[in-house]
């Protein structure tokens, strides 16, 4: 019924290998993009953007980045918060050093700097695996946060040790600082999110991604068939950190505007992004989006239902939220260990055959 393939003929390799080979799926994707680009910007206000859309879009980029490393290349990382901090501080230093350069370039450069730092911290992955690697990346997390707290050069010697984003524009439209329009910040982040998803999707299904997956599935076998583990692992760290750096830069400059490294990029951020990809689905770009949406939107939804509609005390709702989110994580892990992406895949399969499953 839905997702009908009947009459949907692919006559070239390009058609056969596109991201959404089924016509219905492809049109749904175009519709989502259309709504995101041409409908939402005209409807949003500050509340929607700052409470829902910006965190969702930014965490989606971070989740894509971590998914490349953990989901595609199989290298467990707990350094996400630290790498986001690198992106944020790189962006801050670039913004203040070169005020006239477009924010697009600053954010991309912040990503490049984070990629370099990430590749550096990826070096131990050549020797150690699994939990031990997780501990090594954990060291990166703590070292980077300590570094940004300790060296005043990174925060331009401000008295409080905080960094705050000055007003900057791109093509004459303000996109950082308090006087921005909701649609401008939304569109700016949307461009990066869509771009990241496209790049990540195409990297992961090309030769680079196949090498990562070969390393993930069995590194010795991968080496025997000619995958260079040094190059594969370091590119995974670099590409992953590039996206995480972009998300950190956006998180600081567009979303929060002022950041204190220990509070914003602490270990809890690393876990949050890791939960996102575990719940969303390891090794899936859609899973990154689904996980980010789940963990960003659910608390807000629970708050609206609990406090604004039911009028419960705020502390009870805050505690309930922990219970519900925690409970849902456990249920998901038991009922569907491959995450929301797998649920989506199963649903698609079912819908494809429905209503005649035999």
């Amino acid at each position: 019924m839905f997702y009908r393939e009947a009459g949907d003929f692919n006559t070239s390799y390009a058609q056969d290998q596109q991201t959404f080979p089924i016509k219905f799926d492809r049109y749904r994707y175009y519709l989502v993009l259309f709504v995101a680009i041409f409908v939402i910007p005209f409807m949003v206000n500050d509340y929607w953007v700052n409470s829902l859309f910006l965190p969702f879009l930014i965490y989606a980029i971070a989740a894509i980045g971590l998914n490349i490393l953990v989901g595609y290349c199989g290298q467990v990382s707990l350094g996400t918060g630290g790498f986001m901090a690198v992106g944020a501080y790189a962006c801050y230093k670039l913004m203040t050093a070169m005020p006239d350069v477009s924010m697009f370039i600053h954010i991309l450069l912040a990503g490049v700097i984070t990629a370099a730092v990430g590749a550096l911290f990826g070096l131990p992955s050549l020797r150690i695996k699994g939990f031990y690697l997780a501990v090594a990346t954990l060291a990166a997390q703590f070292f980077l946060v300590w570094l940004f707290n300790r060296v005043p050069w990174f925060y331009n010697y401000s008295a409080s040790g905080q960094i705050s984003a000055p007003e900057r524009d791109t093509f004459g439209i303000l996109i950082t600082g308090p006087n921005t329009d909701a649609w401008a910040t939304y569109m700016f982040c949307l461009i990066f999110t869509v771009g990241s998803a496209l790049v990540a999707r195409n990297l992961t299904r090309g030769s680079v991604g196949r090498k990562w997956m070969a390393i993930r599935d069995m590194d010795i076998a991968a080496e025997i068939i000619g995958v260079n583990p040094l190059r594969a692992k370091l590119t995974a760290f670099a590409v992953s950190s590039f996206f995480i750096g972009i998300s950190g830069a956006l998180f600081f400059s567009i979303y929060l505007g002022a950041v204190e490294v220990g509070e914003a990029f602490g270990i809890q951020k690393s876990f949050l992004v890791l939960f996102m990809i575990i719940i969303g689905g390891l090794g899936s770009i859609f899973g990154s989006f689904a996980g980010a949406a789940f963990l960003v939107l659910l608390p807000v939804l629970l708050k609206i239902v609990g406090v604004d509609w039911l009028g419960w005390p705020t502390d009870i709702v805050a505690h309930l939220q922990l219970v519900i989110v925690g409970g849902l994580i456990i249920i998901f892990l038991i009922a569907e260990p491959h995450g929301l992406a797998q649920l989506w895949r199963v649903a698609k399969e079912k819908l494809r055959l429905w209503p005649f499953p035999h």
Partner: protein, 426 residues
């Protein structure tokens, strides 16, 4: 996912739709997390004072007051979410009780024309109203606290600090780092040696810091802590037998929560304050009659009379009086955020005013002006009596060393003005 966003968007709209004809004082509180011990009494006091005004006087100038509460858990991301979700309701003033959230909100409130009061917290240089048009930090700020702590130590030492060693134990965040510059200047001026001892969030583990203090043997320890960090520090100080009367906390490290767990060993611990302690005020009789006995208290109602509850009362009293001032200036009762800002800028707190409100001698007298959003910087010292389980004022309200602080404020606010191209409002 598209559907999910759509439903949420509708829900968000319903939640954020404006309800007019009330005076709205949003309370960005934190009743969960490692800082809840401090957040709960403050939020209770803040809400109870407004409940009292509603019950006894029918609000301010005949307008009823609404205090929507939003849980931030002392987290900046949640703080921003709370701000965005409440500002549409006609919010008059914000008091986030978190330096991190304050830094987020300084540019936002200025753009949205809503004032923010950060009594004894936030960005100290916001005292310069010429640069920070919508941010107020009367009656005292972090640097006043640092200066008065040194002044008190000087009194104890007979007027000279030459060759003395003072350690600063601080929360390693924007909040804890605030006093460092001031203390460095003061150490140059008075010739004492300053040791900086940072404690990382949330501060449950301080063994190494106190080992360092034990080794360095400072003559005094000043603490800028908050939440669970305070209790741990007091306990650790007791463990290394550091003399408690030489251990001085800022006002965020001086509540009952911080000392009760150390028991009798905490006796003599000192803390600064910018308002009076105890519950021996006429206002408390009204509170008992209209709020406590009628069961309308916020939270569990078990915080009445504690130091931080008093601070909540004081914070609510300041903004309530500012709202009254705004109503007088503009001749309307249903004021807006911008009018509230004018009211705060012309606020004058006198002894007669406080006595009339049932809070005689509760805090220092001060007046706000366009240039000075921070009051005169009068701070007193309190001391914990472990046997009676109460805080007592042990000094008069003393003014901080303005010769040191004012140049620092000018310098820091100028840096902010340059960064953000602010020309000045006065």
């Amino acid at each position: 996912m598209k559907y999910k966003l759509g439903t949420l968007a509708v829900a968000g709209l319903m939640a954020a739709s404006p309800v007019m004809a009330d005076l709205v004082f949003p309370s960005l509180s934190y009743r969960t997390g490692p800082y809840a011990a401090g957040g709960i009494p403050f939020a209770d006091g803040y809400a109870d004072y407004f409940t009292l005004l509603n019950e006894r006087d029918g609000g301010i100038g005949g307008e009823t007051i609404r205090v929507p509460e939003c849980e931030t858990a002392y987290n900046t991301e949640k703080g921003v979410e709370c701000y965005e979700s409440t500002k549409g309701e006609g919010a008059l003033v914000y008091q986030p009780l978190s330096t991190g959230i304050t830094y987020q909100l300084i540019p936002k409130v200025t753009a949205d024309d809503i004032p923010m009061l950060t009594s004894g917290l936030g960005r100290t240089s916001a005292k310069n109203g010429n640069v920070f048009s919508h941010v107020f930090n009367f009656p005292a700020n972090y640097w006043d606290g640092a200066s008065v702590a040194i002044k008190h130590i000087m009194e104890q030492e007979g007027g000279s600090l030459e060759g003395k060693k003072i350690a600063l134990v601080y929360h390693n965040s924007a909040y804890g780092k605030e006093p460092i510059r001031t203390l460095q200047e003061l150490s140059e001026k008075h010739g004492f040696e300053l040791k900086e001892v940072p404690v990382d969030h949330p501060g449950q583990e301080q063994k190494s810091q106190w080992l360092q203090i034990r080794r360095d043997k400072p003559d005094y320890v000043i603490m800028y802590g908050w939440g669970v960090m305070n209790q741990v520090a007091v306990q650790e100080a007791a463990n290394i037998r550091f003399p408690m009367d030489k251990f001085i906390g800022i006002w965020w490290s001086g509540s009952e929560n911080d000392v009760l767990s150390a028991g009798a060993k905490a006796d003599g611990y000192k803390a600064l304050t910018f308002h009076n302690v105890g519950s021996d005020y006429p206002l408390y009789d009204d509170l008992k009659k209209h709020v406590i006995d009628t069961g309308k208290t916020a939270g569990a109602g078990d915080q009445v009379g504690t130091v931080l509850y008093n601070r909540g009362i004081y914070a609510a009293m300041l903004v309530a009086e500012a709202a009254r001032t705004a109503q007088e200036i503009h001749g309307v009762t249903d004021i807006t955020g911008g009018q509230m800002r004018d009211g705060m800028e012309q606020l004058e707190i006198t002894e007669e005013k406080m006595a009339a409100l049932g809070l005689p001698d509760f805090g220092p007298e001060f007046s706000v002006s366009c240039d000075n959003h921070g009051g005169e910087g009068f701070v007193a010292v309190t001391q914990w009596d472990a046997e009676a389980k109460e805080w007592n004022l042990v000094s008069d309200f003393m003014q901080s060393d303005q010769d040191v602080i004012q140049p620092l404020i000018d310098e820091d606010s100028k840096a902010y003005a340059d960064e953000n191209a602010i020309e000045g409002n006065c």
